[in-house]
């Protein structure tokens, strides 16, 4: 038996973003001792740049299990938010008024209707309500829509939260639950050791744990192979615009436009394959602004106070990877680009399975084996 150090723990979670901290918080609620290994102030951090939707509609075409997984998270989000608030006093402002995806042409309407039909016609797919709304129906809820809006798809399960408050609540909750949060711990190596794992950081620190969860976003690609796992993720840049605080006027999240609880209007998004470059391109934000004004012309006078770009963590098919290593049991990988939507699942369901040491059979759909890439050690 090696000498225990302060960092010794049941589980080491690599990554302190929304995925890692939700899992770590969840593990701590299961009575596990947990350490979270994170980088410093400046790092590639999608969790600090996301759009904060808790979004269900349209997700899971091509992987019906993902539709079910998403709906389950949405259904448990209220309870999750309540538990966080009870523990930390932080209201993460989760609201589930239903969400609209605005559509600007008949062609967009048809394409969207077809997508949703195909999604919901998949065998064994979870059932829930959604609706294709015409312009008049959308205008009933939001009379200020622009003339270009032809209609929208609507799903009553969609909602949003304040994702920065969520991140803070998770970190606050971790602290209150005894999780050791270790910033400036960029992991260089993971090695099996004494039936558990040893992590060596860039500055030469060592952390030992019984289990390890790789929830390191883009860095999962580098780390997963160290424990016989595979996480072929790539960055996809998205831009977001936020306006000054405005009196409440928008009651629903509208796809890529939403008003935050603090009053700012967030407008996204874009899709670029540019590596780890988070430079903002004014032509991209301009295009986003232009489309937003076609949907809600009354946004035009609002002042933009910030724009930013963040990097989605995307697998080849866009669906998550959750997997335990077969060659080094006790090592897990969790990666997805919906860290907000799936936070409830990560904290409540996934963490419970990791604490128990087994991912149930239904998780096999989320194995990286689906990419037919043999895992390399």
């Amino acid at each position: 038996m090696t000498e225990r150090t302060r960092s010794d723990c049941d589980v080491a979670v690599i990554g302190g973003g929304l995925v890692g901290s939700a899992i770590a918080w969840g593990l701590a609620q299961q009575g596990q001792t947990v350490a979270v290994l994170d980088e410093g102030d400046v790092a590639v951090r999608p969790s600090r740049g996301n759009f904060a939707l808790v979004w269900v509609q349209g997700k899971g075409l091509g992987l019906p299990e993902y539709a079910g997984w998403t709906k389950m998270s949405s259904d448990t989000w209220t309870g999750f938010a309540e538990r966080l608030q009870e523990q930390t006093g932080i209201d993460v402002c989760y609201r589930r008024p239903g969400g609209f995806l605005p559509l600007l042409s008949e062609e967009e309407m048809e394409r969207r209707a077809g997508q949703l039909r195909r999604l919901h016609n998949q065998p064994n797919v979870v059932r829930y309500d959604y609706e294709m709304m015409d312009r008049a129906a959308v205008a009933k809820e939001m009379p200020f829509i622009g003339k270009d809006v032809v209609g929208a798809s609507y799903c009553p399960l969609d909602g949003h939260c304040n994702s920065l408050k969520l991140l803070r609540a998770l970190h606050s909750g971790m602290s209150l639950s005894g999780v050791s949060y270790l910033p400036h711990h960029r992991v260089e190596r993971i090695e099996p050791r004494d039936g558990g794992f040893r992590m060596v950081t860039a500055s030469g620190d060592e952390v030992r744990s019984g289990k390890v969860v790789i929830a390191a976003g883009h860095d999962a690609r580098r780390l997963a192979p160290m424990v016989g796992l595979d996480a072929p993720v790539r960055p996809e840049r998205g831009h977001v615009i936020v306006t000054e605080k405005t009196a409440p006027f928008l009651n629903f999240p509208v796809g890529f436009i939403r008003q935050t609880d603090e009053g700012g209007v967030m407008i996204g998004d874009s899709f670029e394959d540019v590596g780890l470059d988070t430079t903002v391109r004014n032509g991209v934000t301009s295009t986003i602004a232009d489309r937003a004004l076609r949907i809600f012309p009354l946004l035009g006078k609002l002042n933009v106070v910030r724009t930013w770009a963040a990097l989605r963590v995307l697998t080849p098919d866009g669906f998550p990877i959750y997997e335990q290593s077969t060659t080094m049991p006790g090592a897990f990988v969790a990666t997805c680009h919906s860290g907000v939507t799936l936070a409830a699942n990560h904290a409540l369901a996934l963490a419970t399975h990791i604490a128990a040491g087994t991912l149930p059979d239904e998780f096999s759909a989320f194995s990286a084996r689906r990419f037919h890439v043999p895992a390399v050690a």
């Binding site: 302190g16 994170d38 410093g40 102030d41 400046v42 600090r48 920065l164 991140l167 803070r168 970190h171 606050s172 602290s175 949060y181 270790l182 910033p183 400036h184 831009h239 615009i241 306006t243 000054e244 603090e262 407008i267 998004d269 874009s270 899709f271 670029e272 430079t279 903002v280 391109r281 004014n282 032509g283 991209v284 934000t285 301009s286 295009t287 986003i288 602004a289 232009d290 489309r291 937003a292 004004l293 946004l299 035009g300 006078k301 609002l302 002042n303 933009v304 106070v305 910030r306 724009t307 930013w308 770009a309």
Partner: protein
């Protein structure tokens, strides 16, 4: 107004001494040059309203102020285009300048860019500093220069640094009354400053500065060694509470409280452009990394004047000319030898202007209690975040300002960290027991000044930029 050319050899941003001097030299020597400035008239802050000040008696503002007029005349004759009232909200690495004027935004390309964005007053976070009636001393000076307005009723000035004394002197000249000056200069600063005194004694500051100081001290009650300060009032400032050293709290009635703790570079545009910056221990602020010609880490972008480190108005002028000469060289208008030869007199003048500066830096460095305020003090005015909240975030493991921004929103408001960044960094550094250099600074992005969504939407878009949004 000037009709803008579709593209310029050189765009200079900011019409203070550095920008005026840079644009004048560059345009005179043949570069197609545009000077973009947020204000309605040239002069920057130091020579604010130099062409149209309503203050008729020249003795009120003093000869150093009126020197600004010497820069404006040659600029007008230089052939440079001038665009006042233009807020520059972005400079890209490809040297496309995003500007907004009269509610319309546009992109102006240039082959070379000189940022001359000057300085702003160092944040002076004390309890109550957000109350109406509490202002920067620099703000009061702008009111005097631009509108001939002086504070009336009970007026208290507090802080440290040359500008505070200059304002007091100008107020006295204008016939205004000052109840008291609360001098926060820490006594121990003298120890650090003394070895630097000989160089200062040979500088141009010393005679003028001393005379001004004595005149103010003769006429105004100066309360020294002030170690703590707060503003109190219901809806606006009504009194100032302070302590001398470890003494008991004292109270002064105040209708206006003017705060000053020196100036620091206005780095937001340079930071958002991607210019590397470093912590300057002597001036206790972040300063963009520049070489002797003002060149930054971004190809084609230079910084002149106080925006690249505080040197004062005269130094700014000379630094402006040096960056302009380097721009001429980089754009192929002059060879290296010509640049170096022509730079020589400006370098000499710059050295003279900077002489004694480190004495002022050492003497007027704000005391720690003012740089690292107590828990109940608001540090982020926009999002109303206190120093205590920042410390709580550090306890959670947050190690730098970009994470406190995510956790607390400090720095996310419209001022984009200008009024909280230096303090947040100092508070985190103090709580972690490391240097601000290790803590880092906010990563800023355009727009550094707000533009409307309609303005943003109106900008030109490349095909791939449209595709990045619309193809999904």
């Amino acid at each position: 107004m000037t009709d803008l050319k579709p593209r310029y050899d050189l765009a200079v941003i900011g019409a203070g001494p550095a920008g005026l001097a840079a644009a004048t030299l560059a345009a005179t020597r043949g570069l197609s040059t545009v000077l973009l400035d947020e204000q309605a008239a040239p002069g920057g802050q130091i020579y604010r309203a130099i062409t149209r000040s309503p203050v008729r008696n020249p003795n009120v503002l003093g000869t150093d102020y009126w020197h600004g007029a010497d820069l404006v005349g040659p600029f007008r004759d230089s052939g440079a285009d001038y665009l006042p009232g233009a807020a520059v909200w972005s400079v890209s690495r490809t040297l496309d300048i995003g500007l907004s004027r009269d509610g319309a935004a546009r992109i102006l390309p240039a082959r070379h860019v000189i940022l001359a964005t000057g300085a702003l007053e160092r944040p002076f976070p004390v309890p109550g500093w957000t109350l109406p009636g509490v202002m920067g001393a620099g703000a009061a000076q702008i009111l005097l220069k631009t509108s001939g307005l002086v504070a009336s009723g009970n007026v208290v000035m507090a802080g440290s640094g040359p500008l505070l004394w200059l304002l007091a002197w100008q107020y006295l000249r204008a016939g205004a009354r000052i109840d008291a000056i609360l001098d926060t200069t820490p006594r121990e600063n003298w120890r650090q400053a003394m070895p630097l005194l000989p160089a200062f004694a040979r500088s141009g500051y010393v005679g003028k500065g001393l005379k001004l100081l004595l005149e103010v001290r003769r006429k105004v009650k100066v309360i020294g060694n002030v170690s703590a300060l707060r503003a109190e009032g219901d809806g606006r400032v009504q009194s100032v509470v302070y302590r001398q050293g470890n003494g008991a709290e004292q109270r002064l009635p105040a209708d206006t409280l003017l705060l000053h703790h020196g100036v620091i570079p206005n780095i937001n545009l340079a930071n958002a452009t991607g210019c590397a910056q470093s912590w300057d221990e002597a001036q206790r602020c972040w300063v963009p990394d520049v070489d002797g010609w003002g060149a930054t880490s971004v190809e084609g972008v230079a910084i002149a004047g106080d925006g690249a480190g505080i040197g004062g108005a005269l130094a700014a002028e000379h630094r402006g000319r040096l960056t302009a000469l380097d721009a001429l060289h980089r754009l192929g208008a002059i060879d290296r030898a010509t640049r170096d030869r022509d730079a020589a007199p400006h370098r000499e003048a710059l050295d003279r202007a900077l002489r004694g500066r480190d004495f002022l830096d050492a003497l007027y460095r704000p005391g720690k209690d003012f740089r690292v305020p107590a828990d109940d003090t608001i540090v982020c005015r926009c999002e109303e975040v206190t120093a205590g909240q920042v410390r709580d975030a550090v306890k959670l493991g947050v190690s730098g300002p970009n994470q406190t921004k995510s956790f607390l929103r400090c720095g996310m408001g419209p001022c984009q960290g200008r009024l909280c960044g230096p303090t947040v960094v100092e508070v985190i550094a103090d709580a972690r027991g490391v240097s601000p250099a290790e803590v880092g600074y906010y990563r800023l992005r355009p727009p550094v000044k707000p533009i409307t969504l309609a303005e943003l939407a109106s900008l030109p878009k490349a095909e791939d930029e449209v595709a990045a949004v619309m193809h999904h």
